[in-house]
Symmetry: C2
Subunit: 205 residues, 2 copies
């Protein structure tokens, strides 16, 4: 089984690249599907699941821990949702089918399967441009607000990862390939990145 | 004109990858050739030139600066050699021929030409293995000594770069592609990396 994980900065086009890679290689593709499964399993909305998974509860969590040292049933809901997410991602891998998965620290959660791990980066101009193109019509966000959104999301991804890995988010040691999509047409990158992944699997499976 | 610069951790195989890329794409290739040209121009040995370019003289340099504030002719020899290196690298670019250049902060020195910038990394086990294979027969260096060599060389590359760039050496924002060669046969990577470079040039020239 071949697994490609795609970690990415917000606005770098990592999600689109991941989807296109899956299409080009004929792999399954997972992204929002994981949230949907969490929502069903926990009987919550996808948005709430996403909020709980990306928000930083570390200070609140510490208090909960202190107050409930002997009452583990009082686990913070974010922790519970994170555990469900881990289960769901591992269930996907147990299917034994090749797949691409975007985000969710899947590179760490699935490390036992030796996935090929990509990180996608871009300069801030390209990210702003991509976010603008993606914004809903009529949506009126200033560059300044969009920039602070991008920074906040990346900061939360970085913090999230720090909880489960000693290598910082986006650190070159943690990935097999880091792709910079600044000024790039993503479609042009799909074939070389797919070829790179296949060369890597050829050496590592 | 298309320029590919290869920055790399010591032992990551970046030099071999650069040479193979040049061969695959039919580009000129520069590495030691730059040192040879410096040696000729400054009437010094290549080894001395390399030592002066990689050694950290920053503390000595500060003293020189202080003592010679009004006597710029007392420029530190390392600074002079660095300037000659910059001239030589820019002369190469002025030829107008496609080329690959390894190391020497060429990505920064040639930024006006919009080169495609690769960084090559690897885990420490792979680097040790590669250095061992490359070591002269009969050479008897312990893993510990080799490890401290690798660390010292990378530290000097990192310091060297810090003198001329605000982005740290190996920082993902400074490169277009970061390739991790751990456990990889470099030959298998040449074709996808060459294809990636061509896709990038297709978007950026």
């Amino acid at each position: 089984m071949r697994i490609i994980t795609v970690s990415r900065e917000f606005g770098s086009g990592g999600r689109e690249l991941g989807k296109r890679l899956a299409d080009a290689l004929g792999y399954d593709y997972y992204d929002r599907e994981v949230l949907t499964a969490i929502a069903v399993k926990c009987d919550i909305s996808e948005d709430y699941a996403e909020y709980m998974l990306t928000h930083d509860f570390s200070s609140g969590y510490a208090i909960t821990m202190r107050n409930s040292f002997h009452t583990p049933e009082l686990m913070h809901p974010a922790t519970k949702i994170m555990r469900v997410q881990t289960d769901i991602i591992r269930e996907i891998a147990k299917k034994g089918r090749d797949f691409v998965i975007v985000g969710r620290n899947a590179d760490l959660l699935l490390s036992g399967y030796k996935p090929f791990n990509i990180f996608v980066t871009a300069d801030i101009q390209s990210k702003l441009k991509r976010c603008r193109e993606r914004a809903a019509e009529g949506e009126n966000i200033s560059d300044k607000d969009m920039l602070s959104n991008i920074k906040a999301i990346d900061k939360s991804r970085s913090k999230n990862r720090a909880m489960i890995s000693d290598l910082p988010w986006g650190d070159r040691r943690a990935y097999h390939l880091i792709v910079n999509t600044s000024d790039m047409d993503l479609k042009a990158l799909v074939s070389p990145v797919a070829a790179y992944a296949e060369a890597w699997f050829g050496n590592n499976t």
